[in-house]
């Protein structure tokens, strides 16, 4: 294994807070709420208990040409929107296609196509089923769409690990560059599955907030009255690049992805291991692979989805694995939960926090849960950071940690 530094030279995102990464970052700093009432007819039709959502601020079809968009599932559309922004941000480098890779995760893939085409089959019959149904629903679809567009011949991969997928995309891309497989990667996650069955399924798990009468304060990570997550949609992408490659072409450098860590709880299909040992292993691997110590980690951008059990377990893990010196924030208080895109979008926020020395505050913490024994920033906090960590966890016991350092 070679020992190449991996830097970030471009970012892109489309989220409930904005159609680009800079707009999303500014909205995080401004404390903008991305959660609104869900008035889709299927909410009423199935009498769903959850009537709030975190929908995209900018429709992908406003950005992607019509004919191209109609061949893509919505999760592929958001992946492309974010990937193109990130690629342009990196200066649209001319590189050997065999040295370019794509790793884009998704939790569910083309759920809107799968469910929508099944409805068409039932109501209209075979002839009305779209010829592109399969490539639109496959979970490698977002990665494949980005790879095809970017002509990435060095490898196109699609990690699927529920809500850790986006972070895992970035983690695997880091490994591919460190291993010397490729010089540049487009990496991140994409998700767009706000429709009846996912909402029904998460509702049946009692995982979602039902604070329907107050969407703006429904997502309350670390608050004592938090009652679940809000389903969101979006995508986040980074251009990861071997440092000497980036320097040679004079690219801008946001920061270094200094280390990654991945682990699994192997404990329960959905519940996190109560002592956070699996999460701790991922965090410690990330810190160790960066050659740093826990004392260096001044900030944690937490997974914190606003569920009663998840947030306190994570806070306990952070306290134990990193310490009480680190400043913790939860972007999901504003974005909702972007599932397989969340780790990528929050990774971008972590990177920008390190770069700019400011941590966006967590919204909607009216009464901090006394069981949360970490320093939660509830207002924007200016801190001189050398390193910050983003952790992501997914159903299936997946734990992923990304560690960014200041360049």
């Amino acid at each position: 294994m070679t020992d190449h530094d991996v830097v970030v030279t471009g970012i892109g995102a489309t989220t409930p807070l904005g159609g680009t990464a800079p707009e999303t970052w500014q909205a995080l700093l401004d404390g903008v709420n991305g959660v609104t009432a869900n008035t889709e007819p299927w909410v009423e039709k199935f009498d769903l208990p959850v009537r709030i959502k975190a929908a995209l601020k900018v429709e992908p079809t406003e950005v992607i040409p019509r004919v191209e968009a109609r061949r893509l599932d919505r999760c592929q559309q958001v992946a492309l929107v974010a990937a193109r922004e990130a690629w342009a941000d990196a200066g649209s480098p001319e590189i050997d296609p065999e040295r370019l890779g794509v790793v884009v995760g998704t939790g569910i893939g083309g759920a809107l196509t799968l469910l929508g085409q099944d409805d068409l089959l039932e109501t209209e019959g075979l002839r009305k089923v779209a010829v592109l149904t399969i490539p639109m629903l496959m979970p490698n679809g977002p990665a494949a769409a980005v790879g095809l567009w970017a002509k990435a011949r060095g490898g196109v991969h699609a990690p699927v690990s529920a809500c850790a997928s986006g972070a895992e995309g970035i983690a695997w891309a880091w490994r591919m560059i460190r291993d010397g497989d490729i010089d540049v990667a487009i990496a991140g996650g994409a998700e767009a599955c706000i429709t009846s069955l996912p909402v029904a399924g998460f509702s049946q798990m009692r995982a979602m907030s039902t604070r329907n009468d107050d969407p703006a304060t429904a997502s309350r990570p670390f608050d004592v009255d938090r009652d679940g997550f809000i389903l969101g949609e979006g995508a986040g992408m980074m251009i990861l690049e071997r440092r000497d490659h980036a320097v040679a072409r004079g690219a801008q450098i946001y920061g270094t992805l200094a280390g990654v860590g991945m682990s699994n709880d192997a404990y329960h299909i959905t519940a996190p291991e109560p002592n956070g040992e699996g999460q701790t292993r991922a965090v410690e691997k990330a810190i160790r692979s960066a050659g740093l110590t826990a004392a260096d980690v001044g900030h944690v951008n937490a997974h914190a989805t606003s569920t009663p059990v998840g947030d306190v377990g994570e806070a306990n893990m952070i306290k134990r694995a990193i310490g009480d010196h680190t400043v913790v924030t939860a972007n999901k208080s504003m974005t909702g939960h972007l599932l397989g895109a969340s780790g990528a979008v929050e990774g971008i926020a972590t990177l920008l926090a390190v770069k700019h020395g400011i941590i966006p505050g967590t919204k909607n913490v009216f009464n901090l849960d006394p069981a949360i024994e970490v320093d939660v920033a509830t207002e924007n906090r200016e801190v001189n950071l050398t390193a910050a960590l983003n952790d992501s966890f997914g159903f299936g016991g997946h734990n992923v940690a990304l560690l960014f350092t200041k360049d």
Binding site: V67, R127, V131
Partner: protein, 80 residues
């Protein structure tokens, strides 16, 4: 419905499915070589043409529709 009407209707479908301007969909054009339409898009065009013109276009017939004129002639012969 005249051949011109069928041609114009086909043009609208091709523009909708593949983004080729309807005005470029002229009788002498080959779907694959001139209009750059792939086989999956051809299936979609056929399904829409069936609805628009009230014809059946089975797969073995579709395979013979190489040019726009082939499609216009087929629809002219088979339309309801």
């Amino acid at each position: 419905m005249s051949n011109e009407d069928i041609l114009a209707g086909l043009g609208e479908i091709v523009e909708e499915v593949a983004g080729v301007p309807a005005a470029d969909v002229t009788a002498d054009k080959s779907f694959t070589d001139d209009l750059d339409i792939d086989s999956l898009s051809m299936v979609e065009i056929a399904v829409q043409a069936e609805d628009k013109f009230g014809v059946k276009i089975p797969d073995d017939e579709l395979a013979n529709l190489k040019t726009v004129q082939d499609a216009v002639s087929y629809i002219e012969r088979n339309k309801a």
